[in-house]
Every structure is written in C-alpha cells, then in structure tokens.
Amino acid sequence: MSNTLTIDGNTIPFTDGQTIMQAATAAGVYIPHLCHHPEFTPHGSCKLCTVKVNGRICSACTFPAMAGQNVLSNTQELTADRKKITQMLFVEGNHFCPSCEKTGNCQLQAVAYHLNMLDDHYPLFYPQRAVDASHPEVLIDHNRCIFCTLCVRASQQTDGKNVFAISGRGINKHLIVNADSGLLKDTDLAASDRAAHICPTGAILIKHTAYQVPIGQRLYDHQQIDQVSLAQEQTPHGE
C-alpha cells in the first residue's frame, strides 16, 4: 500500500489528486475549516485547516496528499493556534451572536465552540460596515463577513452567475456585489441560488425564515461541528 499517509499517527488511504483535507474527510478525520467546502475549488485563505506535514506548516485544504506524509492535526499547539486565528476572525468583524439569526447554526461560532474559545483575546476592531437589505428575499450583513469567498465560488461554480466578489486590500477587504448600484436587489441573485445558502456565518441570510427553530435547539447547540461536518461532507456528491 503506497497510497497512504498518517494523520496524528493513524494511517489513512488517499487517491491520487486528493488534497489532505479530502483524504482526511473521506477517512472520517475532521480538520477544522471555514473557507473549504467539498463542492467548490479549494481556496486556502482562512488557515484554520493548518496542519503540519512532515514538520512543515501547510493548509490541508489545498496541499496535495502524498504517500508517506506524516500529518499532525489534532495537537495542542495547532489547536491553540487555530483558536488564535478564530479569535482574529471574531475581532476583525462585528460578531454579536445574541443578535444574529445564524446563532447556533453558524460555522464560525461552531468552530469557536469546538476549539473551546471563551473570549476574543485581541482588541476589537469594531469596523464600520453596512447591511444591505435591498433584496426582497436575501440579506447581506457585512459585519459578519469573514471573506471565505464561498458565496463568490458558489455563484460562479454552481449558479453560473457572478453575483459576489471580494474587493479591497488587507484589513480593508470587503464583499461587493455585481450591480451598478452596488445593491443586492440589482443583481441576478435568486433566493434559491446556492450562493444564498452557503455562507458559514450570518453574513448572507434568507429573509422571512428567521427564528423558526428557537435558540438553544439549533444545529450546533448539541452537536459538535466535527460530527456535523463529517456527516455532511464525508460522501460528497458523485462518490
């Protein structure tokens, strides 16, 4: 068996062309991630899936699986670093969970819970960001965007549209939409688009569906994201 690698000492198989993330997911090993989704081209930007491959730090979602790799993922050191990176995502935006409809179903929050993140650690940025409620069925709250580009990719790769893009540089990065007015209502986004449903946080929400499930009874209230993620991603479509 040459097509195997180890993750935290456990041998797992992989097929040629798979990334470490794909091999891990297929083998039932959860590696924390936010910008990765099995349906779309890997992006490699959130850096939560940081693993050590033969001693070198790599993003599991983009790094190719290769025979004999010794991958470390669930170590104290990497978990501590992932927690810091998650805290960075929290402080750069405005994440007031008690006032967010996504709470309990939010992957950013769920990863934070999973990593036992109890505070923000860093000073908060409190950036000035807008809400775009112009679309009759879909809402953008820029305060919660973490620039994972899943909506950008879903719109291009699944919906065959180009509704979203990331603009700006550095800490001034922001999500924009493809309309002369700059407003979501003037794009060709439909509420049934994949892009409208892919946001891991509460930055893109479907209107008129709020609070159907009470807070406290939501997805991550009783289930950890590792279980949820593997259940959803372990057998991607077509396999």
Partner: protein, 594 residues
C-alpha cells in the same frame, strides 16, 4: 472620455489581461476611475464590473474617487524618514493647503504617503502623477507648490526635479563590462542551448530576488513541462523598501537584462516574455519600450532572432502600487489583469504560471547574470563567491553612510567590508534584505553576504547610533499592515494587530505581558500566513526583539496592565457636549490610587 476608453481598450486588443494598463491610462487621464468608465470597460472586455472594482481597490495607484489633478505622493520608506521626510511632508501640506490623505477643495491637488519609491539613495522622494521626484528639499517644495498653483503641466516641469542618478559606486564581474548586445545570444547558439543551460548550472547561479532557487533547475523544470506554450517573466517589481538596484539595471543595463530573458526563452521554448515594472518606475517605461524596439530592429527580438528560428518578444507591463506583486504568483495574477493575490502552491509557476502555462519568473539581476554567463561561461562566475553562493551580489545601499548607491560585491563579503566601502561610521546596525529580511547589530559585522548567512534581494539600510530601533521596527510593521493583500486571516488581521500592539509598546502604553503578547502574535503571523509577505512581516519585530529585548522591556510600565487605547481621549466628545472639564470628567490612563 467614452471615445478615449473605446480607442484605449481597442489598442489593448480587448484583452482582459491588460486591465491594469487600461485602468492606469484612465487614472492618468481622469485622476480616478469614474463609474461610467467601469461600466464601459466591463462591457468592452466582457468581464464583471465587480472584477474591475476589485482591481481598482487593490492597487494603491488606482482610485474610485477623484484625486487631485496633481496627485502627489511622498515616499514613506524609513530612509526617506531619515532624510527628513516628515518635516518636508508637513511643509508641503502647509504650502499646498492640503491635508495628508486629502484632496484639496478645488480638486487641484491631492497629497498622501506611499510605500518606498526606490529612490532611497536620493531621497526624500515622491511621485507626481506617477513620475518620480528626487531629492526633495524645502526649495524644491516651494518650486513644486508654485508649479501646481500655476497649473503647469507635469510634462513642462523642470527636468532637474525628476533627475534620477544611477549612483553606481562599485562594480565587479557584471557591471564593470556589460556584454555587447547580441553577444550572449550568439555565444549561446554557438555553444548550443543545452550546453548554455549547463553553463548556467555550472556557474551555480541562484535567484537574485533573495530566495536563491537554482536558476538552471528552474529553467530545466519549465523546459521539461509538457505542452507548447511557455512564458518568461522578469520580476522588476522591486518593492522591498531600501532596494533600488533594478532601477539602475533597467536604466543602464536593460539590453543585457532583455538578452538574459531571450536566452531563457530560447532554452525553455517560450515565445512571449513580460517585464513587470513596478508602477513607481514609470519614468523608465518609455526608455524600456524604446530598447525593446531597438532590439527588434537589430534582430534580437521578434521573428527569427539572429536567424536561429527563435521567435520571442517582450512586453513591458506596469504595476500600480502593490508590494505583494513582487511575490511571483501574485505578479502573475497581476499580469493577467487581476488583484495581486498569491496563489496556492503547488502548483508552482514553472508548471502552471501565466495563463496556467509553464512560466519562468526571475529577478532582473538573475537575467543580467545569465546573459553574462552565456558569454563568459560558468567557471569564471563560479570562481567568485562562496561554496553555496556563487558570483556577485548587487546591493542597494542607503541610510547612514557617506556614499549611498549601487555596489556590486562578491558573495562572501563581510558586512565590515561593505560598511567600509560605503563610508559608514558609528553604525548601530544594518537592515539586510529590507523589512522582510534581518536586522543585525554591530556585534555581527563579521557575518557575510551569502544565501547561507545573510541572504538579501539587495536592500542594505544602515543605521547609526542616532536612530531609534523601535521607530524603525514601527515603520516596517506599518508597511506590512498597509501592503498585506488580505487574502489569509493570519496576515490580514495579524499584521494590523501587530501594528496596534507594537504602537502600544512604542508609545509607552505597554505593561507586563505586552511584549510576550507581541512575540506570540509574531509567531502566529509568521507560521500561518499564506505567502512570504506574512511569513516575514514579523521579522522587523522578531529580529530586534531577539537582539535588544531590553529595549522593548524598557518601554513597559511596571504595572500589570494598561489599556491599549487612550481612555481620557475616549471621553473627549462627551466632555465637549456636556461642557464639562471637572476632575470627574477625566480618566487617568493608569490607575494610581483609589
């Protein structure tokens, strides 16, 4: 404007890869990119408007809102600061009645700072409508202010304002006798292309951008890739503060650089090359176009070069103010008309580069050296330098010395020898390789220029004892926060956090745990960032913290905690509105007693 854009886009054959050049031209014409222009370009190029906005907002020299008819930018490199930039900037702001970062009410002039413009040997420097201004002084500022007020077109400004000297002080193997145009190509064909690649291998030439990958191996890998289409790219996006050697090489040795690129093309089988010139070097653009044209006339570019059957041409592409584009995959993205965001690797550019085709990206100096080796062979080159670092290194020396400028020195030269050559005295330390490199103290001057010791892309900034180390680290840290592309979390957020945390300490608000916190943050940014920018962004802090821990500790207060924001200032608005100034209307930054 509409007709202008139509013919502009047509002149670029409606190629979306030329978006940056198109937007640069619109910016030069209108001093911003108007909404109507975005719409028109989107239609003409058949690309989403959000793509165009993304590009405009990514590059510092493109704007969505109107800038002044005279866009003045002052270089904020540490070397410019050491030459009095801050005072001059304030004076300029006063003379022109415009705040830094603002456009004057009448729209005539705008003023801002910009990252190092590559004139560190003749600063303080700046840019007006993209053209480099050198040796700024109060007298020159008076002159500039008058020219602006009289609305004299920049093209009619006195040429001495734009005078850029080469300042070549010490030459060696490469710079003493440049090759004759065509001689390297002739020698390569006479010897055989495979044999020429072997000579480059024998020479031990390694990439001069700083990373030091073996040039012959890179060319070989690219040559070995399947498929007919390949590209050669010369990285002249010399953005590392303190580096300016490529400016000089392209001003005076461009023929040899182009010849190096052409040899590479012949060896790997490329038909198209690009020279990606940083936007700050706009003043070299016309000259380079002319040289490319001369080479076409001379049969050294174009179809059937020197009757060898080789077909190769070179396009000069301008950047638009983004340090990150010096990273090779970000540079390729930029060449494709996109935001300069570094790609995931693998795949590497040698297998999937420009338009996903195999691409060699090398530094200006690397191509210069390759052309030299093609003429003189590998052995002569390999005789110079150290076991692992062959040949010479061209340094851009600036800062506290009597003779700043260009120095070509054999690899293995000690820092002592470099400092003696340029007339540096009372030296506190040297920043080698720019902000992303290393700061070394005056106890380490026996160390050598070499990939195995002190690697550098060429930046060499000298600081004497009058300089404050923490001010230097602060300048560099702000630079990285400004230049982070924002793609990955650790760099996007981390560089801004580093800036906050270092400012807190330098401004005297640090307390017990703040240095440890700073160091922990450095490790996250360094270890987890996506590309070289983030991975080196903490170096200015880490290399000074390692050498001068007491300097950081001395700024800390002997208390357990102090807020990172100004508490009393946070009450200022409320005080004003309540019309109060009593003791209870103020807060001490640190609690002394209850």
């Amino acid at each position: 404007m509409q007709a202008f854009i139509e013919s502009l886009v047509a002149s670029h054959q409606h190629q979306p890869t030329h978006l940056l050049a198109i937007l640069r031209a619109i910016q030069a014409q209108a001093h911003y990119i108007p909404e109507a222009a975005i719409k028109q370009v989107a239609t003409l190029l058949n690309i989403p408007r959000s793509h165009i906005i993304g590009v405009i907002e990514f590059y510092s020299f493109l704007h969505l809102t109107p800038q002044g008819q005279y866009e003045i930018l002052i270089s904020d490199s540490i070397t410019d600061q050491m030459l009095g930039k801050n005072e001059l900037m304030a004076y300029l702001s006063e003379q022109l009645h415009v705040a830094v970062g603002a456009v004057r009410g009448d729209g005539l002039v705008s003023l801002n700072i910009t990252s190092c413009t590559g004139l560190c040997d003749q600063g303080p420097a700046g840019l007006v409508n993209g053209y480099a201004l050198s040796r700024l002084s109060r007298a020159r500022i008076d002159q500039i202010a008058a020219l602006v007020e009289q609305q004299t077109p920049v093209a009619e400004w006195p040429s001495e304002l734009f005078q850029v000297e080469d300042n070549i002080i010490q030459t060696d193997l490469l710079l003493t006798t440049p090759i004759e145009s065509g001689s390297a190509l002739k020698a390569s064909y006479a010897r055989g292309l495979a044999e020429t690649l072997a000579e480059i291998d024998r020479a031990g030439l390694r990439g001069r951008g700083g990373a030091g990958f073996k040039t012959a191996s890179k060319w070989q890998y690219c040559k070995d890739e399947a498929g007919p289409e390949r590209y050669v790219v010369c990285n002249a996006d010399e953005g590392e503060p303190g580096t300016f050697k490529d400016r000089v090489l392209l001003n005076t040795y461009a023929q040899q650089v182009f010849e190096g690129m052409t040899i590479c093309a012949a060896i790997i089988g490329a038909e198209q090359g690009f020279l990606y010139l940083r936007g700050e070097y706009l003043f070299l653009y016309d000259k380079l176009l002319q040289i490319v044209d001369e080479r076409r006339q001379a049969g050294l570019l174009g179809n059937n070069i020197l009757n060898s059957g080789l077909q190769f041409d070179i396009e000069i592409c301008l950047g638009a103010g983004a340090y990150i584009c010096g990273e090779e995959s970000a540079l390729i993205e930029s060449l494709e008309g996109k935001m300069g965001i570094p790609r995931n690797r693998p795949p590497y550019p040698v297998s999937q580069g420009y338009l996903q085709k195999p691409t060699v990206v090398n530094n200006v100096e690397t191509f210069l050296a390759a052309a030299h080796i093609a003429v003189h062979g590998g052995d002569a080159f390999a005789q110079i330098g150290t076991a692992q670092s062959k040949g010479t290194k061209i340094l851009s020396i600036s800062g506290d010395c009597t003779r700043p400028g260009i120095y070509e020195l054999p690899f293995g030269t000690t820092i002592h020898a470099v400092l003696a050559a340029c007339g540096a005295e009372d030296v506190l330390g040297v920043q080698i390789g720019g902000p992303s490199g290393t700061f070394i103290s005056n106890t380490e001057f026996d160390r050598r220029l070499a990939f195995e010791d002190l690697a550098t892309g060429g930046s060499f900034i000298i600081f004497n004892h009058s300089r404050q180390l923490l001010d230097i680290a602060q300048n560099f840290t702000h630079f990285f926060a400004h230049e982070s592309c924002g793609f990955c979390t650790p760099c996007r957020v981390g560089t801004s956090l580093l800036k906050k945390q270092l400012d807190k300490i330098v401004d005297g608000h640090g307390s017990a745990g703040d240095v440890a916190e700073l160091e922990a943050l450095c490790q996250i940014v360094k270890n987890h960032s996506h590309c070289g920018l983030g991975q080196t962004a903490a170096n200015p802090i880490l290399s000074t913290l390692e050498r001068y821990p007491e300097l950081y500790q001395s700024r800390l207060k002997a208390i357990s905690y102090e807020p990172g924001f100004d508490l009393d200032a946070a009450l200022a608005t409320a005080r004003r509105l309540a019309n109060r100034n009593d003791a209870a209307a103020h807060l001490a930054q640190v609690e002394d007693s209850l």
